[in-house]
Structure formats: structure tokens, C-alpha cells
């Protein structure tokens, strides 16, 4: 799997917010085998690089950092935050979130496309948090995105894959674009289902961070992602209407 020319072996991306402690966060990252972690600048940092201690801690985990623009509600905020992230973390990668609705934290897809264009033209490699809408996805690709991150369900809702039809259609429509399910997963079976559908990777945060034992849950998700991916490459069956016996009926005694 490749994101913007970087080859990765782990198909699980992990967020770094809301863990009981930085130490547990570190152990969860190890257990998840994630090679990419996301970091929120806006909420944790404030101004004047006040989050520096926490960010240094993230830097020392030895994994690739994907900074995000979580909490940004406008194009301008998101673009400013992306620039700050590039300077702080020395990466052109940015997970772009432009929130359009406060209750569902649903992306503002109009602002998202606009911000993606501005940032792509400015040399950023953009990972947009979007919906499963195919037209928006096309627009994001036109704007320069080479990875798409549709939601499974609203951020932190633990509801799993809300719109299976839409997500299947998206996978079928963009066979060559890396697609990452971002947000809304609650339990490992949700992640396995996404991988079985052929998604390239999943991004999690709350499902691990707020589990009673985040480290065990991180490992459970890692196993589910592996299982789902393996199943996808093994050409899984489609559901059938008719029963198909797994044992042949020939030779069975027939009672008159």
C-alpha cells in the first residue's frame, strides 16, 4: 500500500487523542503496529506552540506523523493550521478536516474541496476526511488529492459502517485510489468489514483510546485489520439465496 509514494505495511492508522495517559498511548501505538499516527494541532496546541511537550512525545514514538486539522470549521482555519503543522512536524502530509456541522461533525464538503485545492497547489499532500459521496470524491481528486478518507460513521460515534452501499460503490468507482475508512468505527469487526470490502486501510482513535484497556483493543484492531485484508485477497463468497450443502447428499440412506 502506498500513500503519496510512501510504501507502508500496516493498514491501521491510529489517532493520538483522549488516551488515559501518554504512556498508554505509546503502548497502544506499539500494540496496533501502526506506522502512521494522527495528531491534532488546533485543539491540543493553542497558540505559541504550547503543545510542544506532547508533540515531542509523539515525535519520539518513531512513527510517521499525519497532522490533522481537527476542529477547523472554515477553509481559512484549516489552511492556517495545515501550514503550522508543516512547520512543526516537517511533513507535507496533512489530514484535512473541515467540519460543517457541530453535532455530527460531518465534513463541509464544499469547504473541503476548496481547502484541498489551496493546499495541494501549495505542495501539501492532502488526506481529506470526506463522506462517501462520489461526486465530492471526484472533486477532491481533481483538486489534487491522491488518497481519500471517507467516514464510516460520525467521528467518535462507534457506529461502524453506516452506509455499506455507498462505501461499496465508492470502492468500485475508484479501484486505484487508496481509500481509508476514517472515523466512526467502534469494534474490531467494523474494521474487518471495511477491509473485507477492499478498503486499503482504516483510521481509528476513540474506539481504542476510550476502551477500558486501550492497549488490548489496539491489538484486537490490528488482528481484525489483518484478518479483513487477508479475507479480501482470498476472494470471499457473496451471499446466496439458496442453501448450498457443504457435504454431498449422494449415498445418504433413503427411508421409504
Amino acid at each position: 500500500m502506498e500513500f503519496y509514494g510512501v510504501t507502508l505495511s500496516s493498514r491501521l492508522l491510529l489517532g493520538t487523542a483522549r488516551y488515559p495517559s501518554p504512556k498508554i498511548l505509546e503502548a497502544a501505538v506499539r500494540a496496533s503496529r501502526a506506522e502512521i499516527v494522527t495528531v491534532s494541532l488546533r485543539r491540543e496546541g493553542g497558540d505559541q506552540r504550547a503543545g510542544q511537550t506532547f508533540w515531542s512525545f509523539i515525535g519520539e514514538l518513531g512513527v510517521r506523523v499525519l497532522p490533522n486539522t481537527a476542529g477547523c470549521h472554515s477553509v481559512k482555519e484549516a489552511v492556517t493550521t495545515a501550514h503550522m503543522a508543516r512547520e512543526l512536524f516537517g511533513t507535507t502530509w496533512i489530514k484535512l478536516e473541515v467540519i460543517g456541522e457541530a453535532d455530527t461533525l460531518q465534513p463541509d464538503v464544499f469547504g473541503l474541496v476548496e481547502a484541498a485545492r489551496i493546499l495541494s497547489e501549495d505542495g501539501f499532500e492532502v488526506f481529506p476526511y470526506t463522506t462517501e459521496d462520489l461526486v465530492v470524491a471526484e472533486r477532491l481528486l481533481e483538486a489534487g488529492c491522491r488518497v481519500l478518507m471517507p467516514w464510516g460513521a460520525p467521528i467518535g460515534s462507534a457506529r461502524g459502517l453506516n452506509n455499506l452501499f455507498g462505501l461499496r460503490a465508492m470502492r468500485a468507482h475508484f479501484p486505484d485510489v487508496p481509500l481509508v475508512i476514517d472515523a466512526g468505527l467502534g469494534v474490531p469487526s467494523h474494521a474487518a468489514a471495511a477491509m473485507e470490502m477492499g478498503y486499503d486501510a482504516v483510521l481509528l482513535n476513540t474506539a481504542v483510546a476510550e476502551a477500558g484497556d486501550p492497549v488490548r483493543m489496539a491489538e484486537a484492531f490490528a488482528l481484525a485489520v489483518d484478518a479483513g485484508r487477508l479475507a479480501h485477497t482470498a476472494s470471499p463468497l457473496e451471499p446466496r439465496d439458496m442453501a448450498a450443502p457443504s457435504t454431498p447428499v449422494l449415498g445418504k440412506a433413503v427411508l421409504a
Binding site: 504512556k23 485543539r43 491540543e44 493553542g46 497558540d47 504550547a50 510542544q52 477500558g212
Partner: protein, 340 residues
């Protein structure tokens, strides 16, 4: 007469007059040591993060987001406060959630202990002003709360009664301190000697309501920002608190206050009419595991990393620190992540 009685008492210097320093000083003075306390601030006040504390003695509620050691040490501290600060209120904690977040309440119950479930009528009998607002709740009857500012003042008075002077306006490094023993209770001020310390920003408000009355801390669960309201008497409530991985010391942000005040309004719309008396922001000293540490290096004992549990943990840590100092056979790291 045995020599040990006639010998001059050990002299201890405590650096830091926040809750960790003052509880340590009082514990040592009660054990007969000659204690002196130093603090760089001009007096008790907002220079110490203890000033902005909630003052909840809630070891079992805290288990929802902390390791078991916090509950165990916290449970030991409640009686210490009751004995030394008679204004400690022992009416437990009430935990509620709005209808659409009831799942949060189940989850909170799964992760905590020593509570009983309440129905709407039982909530109303505990807190009549919340009648009809919540269908289910949890009561943690063994918990308590106090007013941190009054409690700190009480500790200072008790210290004075034992002849312990507090030298404010005096910055002191442990190496330069006199005495047989030095207790470094500086919180983030002691960062140079404990580099793993970081600040976790918290923001709070003091509000006064003339129409809503509560007799115990109430926690309102919410998937994004759980809040608590701690009664301080005469209609005053402490409303807290945010928890941000930020070391900014600036004033409270609009967003944080929107979240906190919005949640308070959900708890009871009457709080919409409350007056905002004070907004505060400060940094909690925390170690990477968010657990407290008592360490000894030579004659210096460090008590730090109390995070969001200053009043809850300080008395128990003070006992450990005093024991450590007086028993040279104990190890150098007296409490750490694995001691739970």
C-alpha cells in the same frame, strides 16, 4: 531518659506551598519534625494550580479514567481531610447523563465501583432542584468534597499552630535548601529536576446561581466534554474542567467556556442566569503515565505528578513521602506506575 527523645528533631525543608507541599509539611510536623516551607509566590493564590482545583474527593468516580492506584490512594485521603478540615462535606457524588447520552452512564458504571443506581425519584430526593431532569443516575455515597482555597488556608493555620513558618516570595532550589531532609513539592516548577513532567491545561469557572441549589458535586457525562459542578456554598459553584495537552498559560478560550457553560446549561437551565465570578486556567503537573511519583535521591524527596488529583492524592502521598524520608531502607522510587 533515652537519647532519642532528648535529641533535636530532624529539620525538613518543604519547597512549594500547593496542596502537595502543605499536606507534606503538616504530615512531617505532626510527626515531630522541625519544618520550614518555602514558596516562590507571594501567598496562597492563583500562582499555584491547587488554587484552581475542583476539590472533589472522588476516588471511585476517578477510576472511570484513571488506574486503580488513584482509587486506592484517594480512598486513604478522605479521612485525612475530614480530620484536618472539618468543613469537608461527605455527601457523595451524583453522576447523571442527559437522555441521549445514557449509554455513557452505563459505561461509567462499568468502569467504577461503590455506587448505587438512582431513578428519577431518588435523584430528586438527593438533589431536589434536579427533580424531573434526569431519568437515571449514579450515587457514590462514600465520596466527599471541599473548598480547596479554604482547605489550603486551614492547612496554613494548622502549620502555624505547630510552629511551622511559610516563607512566601522565596524561590529555593532543593540543592540550596538547609535541613536534614528536603521535600520538593514544586509541581511544574520542579521540572528541571524531573524532565518527564509536562503541563496539562485545565480551564474552570466560578459561577453563582441564586436559584439553583446543590449539596454535592454533580458530574454530567457527555461523549465530548464531561463536566462537574462542585458546590462551594452560598450559591457559588466551581465548574470544570477542560483537559488539553497544551502548556499555554493564557486566559480561558471562548471555545472552552462555550463547552463548559453549555454543558452547565444542560444540567439545569437555571444556570443560564448564574453570574460568572471568575475564570481560571492553569497547568496540571503530569508524568507520562499520568500517575503521581514519590522519589528519593539522597536527602531530597520529590512528590510530583499529581495531575488532576491534587487534593485527592496529596495526603496519601505525604504519608508515603514522610515514611520514605524517615526509613532509609526503602527504595529510591517509592511509588510508580507498577505499584498498583
Amino acid at each position: 531518659m533515652s537519647r532519642s527523645i532528648s535529641r533535636a528533631p530532624l529539620r525538613a525543608t518543604v519547597i512549594g506551598a500547593g496542596v502537595a507541599g502543605l499536606t507534606t509539611a503538616l504530615t512531617l510536623a505532626e510527626r515531630g519534625l522541625a519544618v520550614e516551607v518555602f514558596d516562590r509566590n507571594a501567598g496562597l493564590g492563583p500562582g499555584s494550580c491547587s488554587w484552581h482545583a475542583g476539590g472533589m474527593l472522588a476516588p471511585w468516580c476517578e477510576m472511570a479514567s484513571s488506574e486503580a492506584v488513584v482509587g486506592r490512594l484517594g480512598a486513604q485521603s478522605i479521612d485525612w481531610w475530614r480530620e484536618r478540615f472539618p468543613a469537608t462535606v461527605s455527601k457523595g457524588t451524583l453522576v447523571v447523563a442527559p437522555g441521549r447520552d445514557l449509554a455513557e452512564l452505563d459505561r461509567f458504571a462499568q468502569r467504577t465501583e461503590r455506587y448505587r443506581w438512582l431513578n428519577e425519584t431518588e435523584i430528586a430526593s438527593l438533589e431536589p432542584d434536579l427533580a424531573g431532569r434526569f431519568r437515571k443516575g449514579l450515587h457514590f455515597p462514600g465520596e466527599a468534597h471541599l473548598d480547596p482555597r479554604l482547605a489550603l488556608a486551614e492547612l496554613v493555620e494548622r502549620l502555624a499552630a505547630l510552629g511551622v513558618a511559610i516563607r512566601f516570595d522565596t524561590e529555593l532550589e532543593p540543592a540550596a535548601a538547609r535541613g536534614d531532609l528536603v521535600f520538593d513539592c514544586r509541581g511544574l516548577g520542579g521540572r528541571i529536576d524531573m524532565p518527564a513532567l509536562r503541563g496539562v491545561r485545565g480551564e474552570m469557572a466560578l459561577i453563582r446561581s441564586r436559584s439553583l441549589s446543590l449539596s454535592r458535586p454533580v458530574r454530567l457525562l457527555h461523549p465530548r466534554l464531561p463536566i462537574y459542578l462542585v458546590p462551594r456554598g452560598e450559591g457559588v459553584f466551581m465548574l470544570g474542567a477542560t483537559m488539553l495537552e497544551s502548556e499555554a498559560r493564557g486566559p480561558v478560550s471562548v471555545r472552552s467556556m462555550l463547552d463548559l457553560l453549555g454543558a452547565a446549561f444542560t444540567l439545569h437551565p437555571a444556570l443560564g442566569e448564574a453570574e460568572i465570578l471568575e475564570l481560571g486556567a492553569d497547568l496540571r503537573p503530569a508524568l507520562p503515565d499520568n500517575l503521581p511519583r514519590v522519589e528519593r535521591t539522597g536527602r531530597v524527596v520529590r512528590v510530583n505528578g499529581l495531575f488532576r488529583h491534587g487534593f485527592l492524592l496529596a495526603p496519601a502521598l505525604a504519608q508515603i513521602a514522610a515514611g520514605a524520608a524517615l526509613d532509609p531502607h526503602l527504595g529510591t522510587e517509592l511509588i510508580h506506575a507498577n505499584s498498583a
